[in-house]
Amino acid sequence: MTHYLLSVHGPAERNEFGEYGSKEEMEKAFAATGAFNDQLKADGYWVFAGGLQQATTATVVDNTGDAPVVTDGPYLESKEYIGGFWVIDAPDLDVALKLAADGSKACRGKVEVRPFEGLA
């Protein structure tokens, strides 16, 4: 089994309906994502998952020098940022890609699949 990070990428700033065009769309996506989460748990792939606040709420801390330097984030300037993620435990990449496809459809976002080197 391999652990994978499935990260969802979306716009830097969200509107009143999050990343969605309308309240109805947002509610549909939330319901579908909830069902997908339940399925991950039922099938034994679930490790951990979460949604993040929009990227403009991030703060960068750099303590690689003499003293910590704190700056308003996010770390990289980009048009799209990670908006949420799942950590799953799957037998191989084919299974992880299938789950990512289901997750992408549920939350209506692009999903990056990346293997963990290890979990602490």
Partner: protein
Amino acid sequence: MTQDGTVDHGGSHHVAGRPSGGDGAAVERVFREEYGRLIASLVRRFGDIDLAEDAAGEALVVALEKWPSEGTPPNSGGWLTTTAANRAIDRIRREGQRDAKHQAALMTYDDTPHSPVGVVEDDRLRLLFTCCHPALAPEARIALTLRLLGGLTVAEIGQAFLVPETTMAQRITRAKKKIAAANVPYRVPSASDLPDRLGGVLTVLFLVFNEGYLASGDGSPVRSELTGEAIRLTRVLRLLLPSEPEVMGLLALMLLTEARRSARVRGGVLVPLDEQDRSGWDRSLISEGHAMVRSCLALNRPGRYQLLAAINAVHTSAVSASDTDWSQVVALYDQLVRLDPSPIVALNRAVAVAELDGPSVGLALVDRLPLEGYHPWHAVRADLLRRLGRSAEAKDAYAAAISSTANVAERAYLARKRGELV
């Protein structure tokens, strides 16, 4: 056999230009022929591509030491597999890589007899699907397939795709690292996924063949080691998936194209289909390809490669270019356009239409296509304009075609046609 003997229908294969005399060269030839099977069975056993390659390399060293003096063992493939497997086990013990996977490989050590059919062939199919996995970059899929299943060296693959050896080595290393880290499975996809995944494998094999048949670089215009390798791997695939009509279609397409290879370049100049000496075509490849096209028709599950094979069957059935059944060719392209509405298919269809309905009808179709960056589009336009007597425009089109291809034989052909215009 093709005329220069680079492809043996039995599947054995050696690279044109590689010395075949001398003991070391003979050992290397056997090694190359067995490489795909060897790596595939080692990857199955040990679940580690790098370990498989290292062990195979060590087995080659031993073979180079022993075979010239002791003679080549009767089952040389089996000998290489056993020797490499022992080396791999030694290495695991030596390096203490006793993680669960390696332990399992050691404990389930089985001496599956080395044979050309059965479970060992399945190993190669699994490895082919791993090499052509959609999570890998397309250029990495081709390189890995040629390296691990074809046994080509990194330098040879680099040369074939005009990439420095170090770049190609990085590309292959990165792909292998991804296979290991992301746990790309070593498995033939399930029946429901097979059609999609098989398409990716066929694309890789077809790209390898095409690069051999009309090399994109300015080196050798035709690279028979690549066409030969693509045919060899497609034959393996056909053996393993005999009921897939598109596999048979692709193999038939390759055979009917390969059959014309030796007539295709004369004196360093590309010879177009209608000017080729048809007595130079390989009749045994043609009859084999025709039989496959008939089998495909009987299955009645048409697909892209089967239709392209059928088109090539029409061409190779004609005694002379003027005997070509162009209405049949156009009908087949009409079917192909419905499956694949790409402008490149439409361009090829327009060439056939020009033969049937005249160059002005063909040109009207060609001019509509958004293919300014595709050198065959310029070459087709040039030819049609020439036939319509529009010499000045034809010259410009030939010039555009020449400047957009690096293939020396094709450039020579286009320059000759351009020079003939007044």
